[in-house]
């Protein structure tokens, strides 16, 4: 497996994206304006579940500067769409998928569902007018939690007889699973709550649709991770011919999965712009985002482990109840299943079974959020392993060591209990490195000292060895899961006549630094300076083929496509150079950006000269097409499986219940690295998002289905003061899936960190008899848990 070549790859190159973003030159959707634009204002439901009995738009329509007001029913009659909002992952044949239109028509099913739309000349005017629309509701019973959905007292959709959306089983051998539990020495059973989270990308979502009334085409600027998917879906839902639609994702201020969707506002902007013949725009407010953008997590998990007397795992049985929210959005039902294969984690487990029930509630729909299903799985198995360690009477490091796949030794292409083939792994040395870096034995000694002293600030040390499945994905594997699309990615590389290089990327960045990483790959492959490379992306008119950015797929699929396109460029250039140098192509060596005839170092031709020759086309081999441009659509043969060990160190104040994360040590392994600076940045940010789930964040709802903390006043995204600096380190186990030997790293931190932190909190409190604590482990919850355990 050739790894990356020497050169800039593997060095911490400063990002090419930064100068624009550091000076205000970067343009996000809300920074872009079109002449004659109208602002959309959304009238949103104040009820979680109700019949709409009347919508009075007269006062709003009479306001100065208001161009139009439409109720949901009116919009439906206008025939603006030919199909409801799409769900691209129908996980079972009998999955319930109620129609979901951009606006409610006669029944609202979550707070914030759009009831009417106003169009006004200004930002403030649209907000004012939306407030003047009066909606009368006849309340219906609200289903405000998964428990309520499961109990079935009321239904989230009044025409449904149950809230259950689907049942999805993955139980390869039920008899073997039952036998494992029957024959086990130790069994443990734990229940965990994956609370709902608000993704909270710093840039709120926004749209600007620019129509061409006579040309019949429309351009949609959207703060989206998925312009290519959005283009297909806008065509499929509005009936606008696909070739008349252009989607542009300009600078996008973070996504974390929350911008991986097809949203009511996007379809309203496109169709109303076309209808009115004027550009239409909307930018969500932060407090609106709790309703206008999907949320993450929302699962109840039950995990059971069976082991022999030594703690060697024999079986793992998992059930998940998953909160879909009010409707199925793009991949809502599939999110819990993305984790299904990972509930056995990094461990050799002979017998495994997973089942999942999806339920509708009257809450904001859920969908992908950083890690999407995999942080949940990792949390369950890694928390359960600590509980098993206590049961068996060994340390958390030892219980892991005894169960690592491949006995903690390096392995390649290993089949796992979840019916996957892990590309590569080497978990033992990774754990050793993390324990070393954390000075684990010294931490344990300090912990013991505080316990002996009855210190009110107890030290807790939490471990987590995670593995994740990413690089989505082999198209056939996705087909096997009933996913509605493939998982390939497209890349194109072309020399311009002057020797500069343009790269066209199908994957679409929103902070990950694709322009830098792709430039580095191309620079090394072609023997040029990264500054001579420009990366084009995020506009379907410039980059027509792509499947975008999610599931830590960009490098492992899209970056590999670009590397392969470079190889094709070099092979074509070799033929041209050989022709012009009157040499045999096989006798040419390509190094440092030049072709040289073997044995004749003076006979050399730079690739830029070849490119110019390909452009003039004066002297090409017979039948060869002019220009030096190649493209590759790469469909990976397997996923990639990054892993790592994280150590969280917390101080828990047993008097106040406050948890202080004092240290965090992460040893990650994402295979070969293109740019370590970017890799570390992804790890840092991912870790803090998982820490935030563990300690602070939760979208809290009351019994009527109202989100109690939609704004940043109450939804506690951590500030710099809440988190420590993070110690990072890496082991390198190249992937066998792709020729670069790379894996993904965008979600890894989040997948490892929540379990590490809660394991640390539980570890700190184990002398008090505490064995588990719900997330987020707020001071009040920690304090209450201590009191309950003591009484």
């Amino acid at each position: 497996m050739t790894a990356v070549e020497s050169g800039v790859v593997g060095t911490p190159m400063v990002r090419k994206e930064d100068p624009k973003l550091l000076t205000g030159e970067g343009k996000y959707v809300d920074d872009i304006h079109a002449h004659g634009e109208l602002w959309m204002g959304m009238v949103r439901s104040t009820m979680a579940h109700a019949r709409i009995t009347n919508v009075d738009t007269a006062d709003a329509a009479a306001m100065p500067g208001v161009h139009a007001v439409y109720t949901g029913a009116q919009l439906q009659e206008m025939g603006l769409w030919i199909a409801p909002l799409p769900c691209a992952w129908v996980v079972t044949e009998d999955m319930v998928n109620p129609p979901h239109y951009p606006t409610a028509i006669d029944e609202v099913r979550h707070v914030g569902e759009i009831v009417a739309v106003v169009l006004a000349e200004t930002r403030y005017g649209a907000a004012d007018a939306a407030e003047q629309v009066v909606v009368d509701y006849e309340p219906l019973p609200a289903v405000a939690s998964i428990e309520a959905a499961r109990d079935g007292g009321a239904t989230a959709h009044s025409d449904h007889s149950t809230n259950k959306a689907y049942h999805w089983p993955l139980v390869p051998d039920p008899e073997a699973l039952d036998a494992a539990f029957a024959n086990a020495t130790h069994t443990i059973k734990a229940e965990f709550i994956q609370q709902r989270l608000i993704p909270a990308a710093m840039e709120p979502r926004g749209v600007l649709a620019i129509p061409s009334p006579h040309g019949g085409d429309v351009t949609l600027y959207s703060s989206t991770q998925v312009p290519h998917i959005l283009k297909v879906m806008v065509a499929a839902t509005t009936g606008i011919p696909e070739h008349k639609i252009r989607i542009v994702a300009p600078a996008v201020g973070g996504g974390f999965g929350a911008k991986l969707n097809v949203n009511p506002d996007e379809l309203l902007a496109v169709t109303l712009a076309n209808k009115l013949g004027r550009p239409v725009r909307w930018t969500e407010t932060r407090s609106e985002a709790a309703f206008s953008t999907h949320q993450g997590r929302g699962q109840l998990q039950t995990i059971e482990l069976a082991s022999d007397a030594d703690g060697k795992l024999m079986g793992c049985r998992v059930h998940v109840d998953a909160d879909m929210g009010a409707y199925m959005m793009l991949i809502t039902p599939g999110v819990p299943l993305l984790g299904s294969f990972l509930y056995t984690g990094v461990y050799a487990v002979p017998a495994f079974g997973f089942t999942c029930d999806g339920y509708f509630t009257n809450l904001t729909p859920t969908d992908a959020y950083r890690g999407a299903g995999r942080p949940e799985a990792s949390y369950a198995i890694e928390r359960a392993m600590d509980i098993l360690a206590l049961e068996v009477g060994v340390g958390p490091d030892e219980i892991r060591r005894r169960n690592y796949l491949g006995d903690g030794q390096p392995f390649e292409n290993l089949e796992t209990p979840g019916s996957l083939v892990f590309d590569s792994g080497n978990y033992g040395p990774n754990l050793d490195a993390a324990l070393d870096m954390a000075k684990y034995s010294e931490l344990r000694a300090e912990q013991q000292r505080r316990r002996d002293a009855g210190d009110t600030k107890q030290l807790g040390i939490g471990l987590c060895t995670y593995v994740e499945i990413c690089g989505l994905a082999p198209s056939r594997a996705l087909g096997g899961l009933n996913y509605g699309a493939g998982g390939w990615e497209h890349g194109m590389v072309r020399f311009l006549p002057t020797g500069m290089v343009e790269v066209v990327s199908g994957s679409t960045p929103h902070g990950q630094g694709h322009e830098t990483s792709w430039s580095m790959i191309v620079a090394d492959k072609l023997g040029i300076d990264p500054a001579q490379v420009t990366v084009l992306h995020s506009d379907t008119a410039i980059s027509p083929l792509g499947l975008d950015t999610y599931g830590s797929r960009s490098l492992a699929v899209g970056g590999v496509a670009i590397a392969m396109a470079c190889d094709k460029v070099v092979e074509k250039a070799r033929l041209i150079a050989a022709h012009q140098m009157e040499a045999n192509p096989d006798d040419l060596e390509f190094a440092g950006g030049s072709f040289t005839v073997k044995g004749s170092p003076d006979k050399t031709m730079p690739i830029q000269a070849v490119a110019f020759g390909a452009f003039t086309a004066h002297d090409l081999p017979d039948g060869m097409e002019p220009n030096l441009q190649e493209q590759v659509t790469y469909d990976p043969a397997n996923f990639v499986f990054p892993f790592g060990t994280h150590v969280a160190v917390v101080e828990v104040d047993t008097v106040t219940g406050e948890t202080n994360l004092t240290d965090y040590i992460a040893i990650d392994d994402c295979g070969n690295q293109i740019n370590p600076l970017i890799v570390e940045g992804q790890v840092h940010g991912g870790i803090v998002q998982g820490v935030a789930q563990a300690l602070w964040e939760e979208a809290a709802y009351d019994a009527d289905g109202n989100c109690k903390n939609p704004s940043f006043l109450d939804y506690l995204v951590p500030s710099p003061a809440e988190v420590p600096s993070i110690v990072t380190g890496f082991t390198t186990t190249p992937s066998t899936t792709n020729p670069l030997g790379v894996k993904g790293v965008g979600e890894a931190g989040t997948i490892g960190s929540a379990a590490a932190v809660i394991n640390a909190v539980c570890d700190a409190l184990s002398p008090y008899g505490v064995t588990d604590i719900e997330m987020p482990a707020t001071p009040r919850r920690v304090w209450k848990t201590i009191q309950e355990a003591q009484s």
Binding site: L22, T23, M202, F256, D663, S719, I726
Partner: protein
């Protein structure tokens, strides 16, 4: 109402509704879109600008309150010949930004912080930037960038590669 102010060293003027927030005056009326809006509760700091050198969340202030003031936005941080302010350079070199949305506000807040406290400790940087949220970086490299720019550029224990305050206590 007419609002005149000196923005990035230039006299600027626009006619606005009295209720117009300073951030919307800058963005929508003056076209200085580098200053971003990340929330509606003055919690996130994405809209931070400098008024007479002090950081202000421009969503907490009406445009009319900034009449006659000296305002600096991210567009005014580099020198006229294009040379970056040291804080901009440090953010770039330390990879203190990913999506870039919080970055203008973070750079302004950090610049103001160092003006008040030229040699802060790591904790002082973290507390000083408490009003600025970032969802991408986990703050590690932002704090590093600020300390690198400060007169206390050795303070960042994250540089040492070993565990910090309690690690190995």
């Amino acid at each position: 109402m007419q609002v005149d102010a000196t923005v990035n060293g230039q006299a600027r003027s626009a006619e606005v509704e009295p209720r117009t927030l300073l951030v919307h005056y800058l963005r929508d009326d003056l076209g200085l879109t580098g200053t971003n809006v990340g929330c509606d509760t003055s919690s996130c700091g994405a809209c931070t600008v400098l008024i007479d050198g002090e950081s202000v969340k421009s969503c907490t202030m009406l445009a009319v309150q900034a009449r006659g003031e000296q305002i600096t936005t991210i567009e005014g941080m580099a020198s006229p010949d294009g040379e970056f302010h040291p804080m901009q350079t440090a953010f770039m070199e330390c990879h203190g930004l990913q999506c870039g949305y919080c970055t203008p506000g973070m750079v302004m807040a950090a610049t103001s912080l160092l003006k008040e406290n030229p040699a802060p400790s790591e904790d002082e940087v973290r507390e000083g930037l408490e009003g600025n949220l970032c969802r991408c970086t986990g703050y590690h490299n932002i704090v590093k960038a600020v300390l690198t720019t400060s007169q206390n550029d050795q303070a960042f224990w994250g540089n040492s590669g070993v565990a910090g305050p309690t690690g190995g206590a």
